[in-house]
């Protein structure tokens, strides 16, 4: 069925997948909310705490040296994974949300003026809406929104026409968590660059599914979350061109981000440390490196091919169900399917399939404007990862049919 990836073999690396829910085998289809972690990631974290735990960049003792080396190795690993020019371009954050807030506050915060514009798209996650809204409220800048069509595809022509000489930044989601749409980030960057506008890409949903090359994409900022890509929660990264990081002021003050402090003046540390105030999430970064090792050991291309096969199979099965409508029908999609069923509320569908062991997401998926566009208060969403199987889709479809029988008049 797939070339090279055996999901059944992979599953043994994920202890949680062996558990039951409501006395049924767990079918975990909420991967866009968070993936599960392989044993190797959990082991990397506990091994750090049990063998090398110390603060980083502070001590001369052996443990501190080991911790600092492991932390900086993790940075190198993220840089390689994104094909960054240098590890200095990787700032560790709590996740994508914090990375976007960092850019909103530091990159634009000091320089944006009333009347300036930030351009985003209609399919953004709240994480790529609210930080810009807060910035606009504070400064008098304007938030502009590029439209999408009824299949959930960005209107590129309209997007281009919305870039003006007041546009200070474009923010765009690489893969929509609510619709699955893969945006043409490279084309968007060409359009923005033609008018000298920097581009921030929300990559939270892209890194577990696509090979990412920030240099080829042509963007200026790329944000990711560890927990969406088999890594720990509480760790993520911002990639930014070094020239931007050098020019940006710090956004949080504290230890680690300084070179010298007196009561009259502080000299800031070099990039990326200038943006990492306080003791960082060392174990998280080490766990993130382990997650990247996992993805690379399986193969990004193999994962993508397997997930696309699951996406096609599930799409076909779902479309055969009476009264079911898929929200987001772009040709180029990540392994995410949002849907609504006539006369059956998403919340009830979610509760009922849960009792068959199937974990799906229901609600607005932190993308309320996208839901409003499609005029649905909520959708049910299944999202796949490398360890999911075709058999699990069959279990889900049976559970969904059971739910319909209970709910639909």
């Amino acid at each position: 069925m797939t070339n090279g990836l055996d999901p059944h073999a992979l599953r043994s690396q994920f202890p949680i997948l062996a558990r039951t829910v409501h006395e049924k085998p767990l079918v975990y289809f909420d991967n866009a909310a968070t993936t599960q972690r392989p044993h190797s990631v959990v082991e990397a974290i506990s091994s750090f705490y049990e063998h090398s735990n110390a603060n980083v960049h502070r001590g001369v003792h052996q443990l501190s040296v080991e911790a600092s080396e492991a932390f900086e190795e993790a940075r190198e690993s993220v840089a390689r994974f994104l094909n960054a020019a240098s590890a200095k371009e990787i700032v560790f954050t709590r996740g994508t949300t914090e990375a976007i807030n960092l850019v909103a506050n530091s990159f634009l915060g000091a320089s944006v003026r009333a009347g300036d514009e930030v351009l985003i798209t209609h399919m953004e996650h709240h994480a790529n809406i609210v930080p810009w809204q807060l910035l606009c409220q504070r400064t008098g800048a304007k938030l502009k929104v590029a439209p999408m069509d009824s299949t959930g595809v960005l209107d590129l022509e309209a997007f281009e026409s919305l870039i003006t000489d007041r546009t200070r930044l474009v923010g765009i989601v690489h893969v929509s968590n609510a619709l699955g749409t893969v945006n043409p980030v490279q084309e968007v960057c060409v359009m923005a660059k033609a008018k000298g506008v920097p581009v921030l890409v929300d990559g939270a949903q892209a890194t577990p599914h696509l090979a990412i090359d920030v240099q080829a994409l042509g963007c200026d900022f790329y944000c990711l979350s560890g927990h969406k890509m088999y890594g720990p929660t509480g760790i993520g990264a911002l990639w930014a061109r070094q020239s931007h990081l050098e020019a940006m002021p710090p956004w949080q003050g504290g230890g680690e981000m300084i070179k010298h402090v007196s009561f009259t003046e502080t000299t800031f540390n070099e990039v990326p440390h200038k943006f990492e105030a306080g003791t960082p999430h060392v174990a998280g970064a080490i766990g993130l490196k382990s997650a990247i090792d996992f993805i690379e050991s399986v193969g990004v291309a193999q994962i993508a091919e397997h997930e696309q096969a699951l996406l096609s199979y599930a799409t076909e099965k779902l479309l055969a169900i009476d009264g079911l409508r898929i929200i987001g029908q772009a040709k180029n999609k990540g392994p995410v399917i949002s849907f609504v069923v006539e006369s059956a509320h998403a919340h009830d569908l979610g509760t009922i399939v849960d009792h068959f062991g199937v974990a799906i997401r229901t609600g607005h998926h932190c993308a309320m404007p996208a839901m409003q566009f499609f005029d649905v208060p909520a959708t049910a969403r299944v999202s796949f990862a490398a360890y999911n199987t075709h058999e699990e889709i069959d279990v889900f479809i049976d559970a969904l049919n059971h739910a319909r029988a209970m709910l639909v008049p």
Binding site: S343, H345, A346, H347, D348, T351, I352, H355, T362, G363, H364, M371, V376, P377, A378, M406, L407, V408, P409
Partner: protein, 138 residues
């Protein structure tokens, strides 16, 4: 907790064929409640005369539990004095929170919703029509 305990017959029937569902053009009082988590959006419309509810309808998009609760509530509200509704809601919440509690006589058929209390994530759904009702009273 079994699925049948939440989706008992009364909830499924009221979900498929809700009572008092639709617009009430001559309402004297209207209230709305929204549950951002699940996307329920519910409007209650009441006619209140002499301090008593004489007509009640609900409208909007909602899950089965919210819909069944609204359906039962709009039946139950008729003839109820509005000044008692806030304390009635407290009695309803207490009934949901304690599965061992005996039926509360004056809540009548609303006692049928007690099994929802065993699903803490869904108690809010049963309460949403009450919240819209109390908002209608201002």
């Amino acid at each position: 907790m079994s699925l049948d305990q939440l989706y008992q017959k009364v909830i499924l029937e009221h979900n498929k064929d809700p009572h008092n569902y639709g617009p009430l053009d001559h309402a004297t009082h209207r209230g709305q409640a929204h549950d951002a988590l699940c996307g329920d959006d519910l409007q209650m419309a009441l006619v209140i005369e002499g301090g008593v509810v004489t007509e009640a309808m609900f409208d909007g998009q909602a899950c089965a539990v919210t819909k069944a609760s609204a359906s039962l509530l709009t039946d139950w509200l008729i003839g109820r004095p509005v000044h008692e509704l806030a304390s009635d809601f407290e009695a309803f919440k207490a009934m949901l929170a304690d599965p061992t509690q005996r039926p509360v006589a004056h809540l009548g058929l609303l006692n049928q919703l007690q099994p929802v209390g065993a699903f803490p994530a869904r108690r809010g759904n049963a309460c949403l029509p009450w919240i819209a009702t109390l908002r209608a009273l201002g």
